[in-house]
């Protein structure tokens, strides 16, 4: 067993209206930041998990996304797996 650090990124599905992203884009423009486009606000979910392999950790992370962490109707997700700092490899 190895301890992995999992990062799940959940973002609004591309092409779906993202009023939160639009509001942030507007505020950045007001502050004078020029050339900002395609602003989207999502979530980052980080946790540690024991698994036999990196592949298994990723698979379980993706299963979590399908069942709970992301809404398949409105969101996309990606799962990144890395050995947890200090874990035996």
């Amino acid at each position: 067993m190895t301890e992995y650090r999992i990062e799940v990124r959940v973002t609004p599905r591309r092409g779906i209206l993202d009023p939160q992203g639009n509001a942030v884009a507007g505020a950045l423009g007001t502050l004078g930041f020029r050339g900002v486009r395609e602003v989207h606000v999502g979530r980052l979910i980080v946790f540690h998990m024991d698994a036999e392999s990196e592949g298994e950790a990723k698979e379980r992370g993706e299963a979590m996304c399908r069942q709970l962490l992301a809404n398949p109707v409105t969101e996309d997700f990606s799962v990144q797996v890395a050995a947890a700092p200090g874990s035996a490899r």
């Binding site: 779906i16 209206l17 009023p19 939160q20 509001a23 979530r43 069942q67 709970l68 962490l69 809404n71 109707v73 409105t74």
Partner: protein, 231 residues
């Protein structure tokens, strides 16, 4: 007649719903705690409004995975009447008992006010006391009530007549002006194919007494009572 009102941590319309059931349906009302596995033999279930689990992750997402929801899903699959109001609608979508999802209001603002609803279906356990085309005045109070589904799902929802209520003008016109949250096709409430699971953002339990500003929500509770009495 026994009606269950589910309470999640963060539910805040459960008592309103309980009281509407008791007084308007003249039924026995029981609270069902989110951790329970037993529906106590109820004849119908209400999922009330509120902010279950603090709306953490997504509105309704964690509640949809709670122990009681497994029982509610099984009850719904057997044809038992289930109505989700506001947060309850979000939970039903998250539990995949209804198609689509409720997203952040387009305005990004929490909307709390009276709206008009056009009744689209009057043949449901919850709406038989209304007439299709009738316009109701019922309050909304939500920040995430923008109904969304992809085009294929919307086509199916429309094709199968799953829309129960739409936001409308007082005279029943469906337009953008009457839409408080940006919902697709002005959808305020939908049912499943079988018609026994209803989700709606507006709060009929807050429109059951003239003192509350409207009695147009009464029909929903009385329709369900009549349906259960017939069954």
């Amino acid at each position: 007649m026994k009606i269950g009102v589910v309470t999640f941590p963060g539910s805040n319309c459960d008592y309103d719903c309980f009281k509407a059931v008791q007084e308007q349906m003249e039924a026995e009302a029981v609270y069902l705690w989110h951790r329970e596995h037993d529906l106590q033999g109820v004849d119908a279930v209400f999922l009330p409004g509120g902010f279950s689990y603090g709306d953490y992750l997504r509105a309704g997402a964690i509640a949809a995975q709670s122990p009681i929801m497994r029982e509610v899903a099984a009850f719904a699959r057997e044809g038992g009447p289930v109505a989700g109001i506001c947060n309850g609608f979000q939970i039903l979508c998250e539990a995949e008992l209804l198609p689509g999802a409720l997203m952040r209001n387009r305005s990004l603002k929490f909307r709390s006010r009276q709206v008009h609803l056009r009744v689209e279906r009057d043949d449901l356990p919850f709406t038989s006391g209304y007439t299709a085309g009738q316009v109701l005045r019922v309050p909304i109070a939500h920040g995430e009530g923008c109904y969304f589904a992809d085009e294929a799902t919307l086509a199916r929802v429309e094709g199968e007549g799953l829309v129960a209520f739409r936001y409308s003008t007082p005279d029943g016109t469906i337009n953008a002006e009457a839409n408080p949250n940006g919902a697709a096709r002005n959808i305020a409430g939908i049912v499943n194919e079988r018609g026994n699971v209803l989700g709606m953002m507006p709060h009929p339990e807050r429109a059951v007494d003239a003192l509350l500003g409207s009695t147009d929500g009464l029909g929903l509770f009385r329709s369900l009572a009549a349906h259960l009495a017939r069954a």
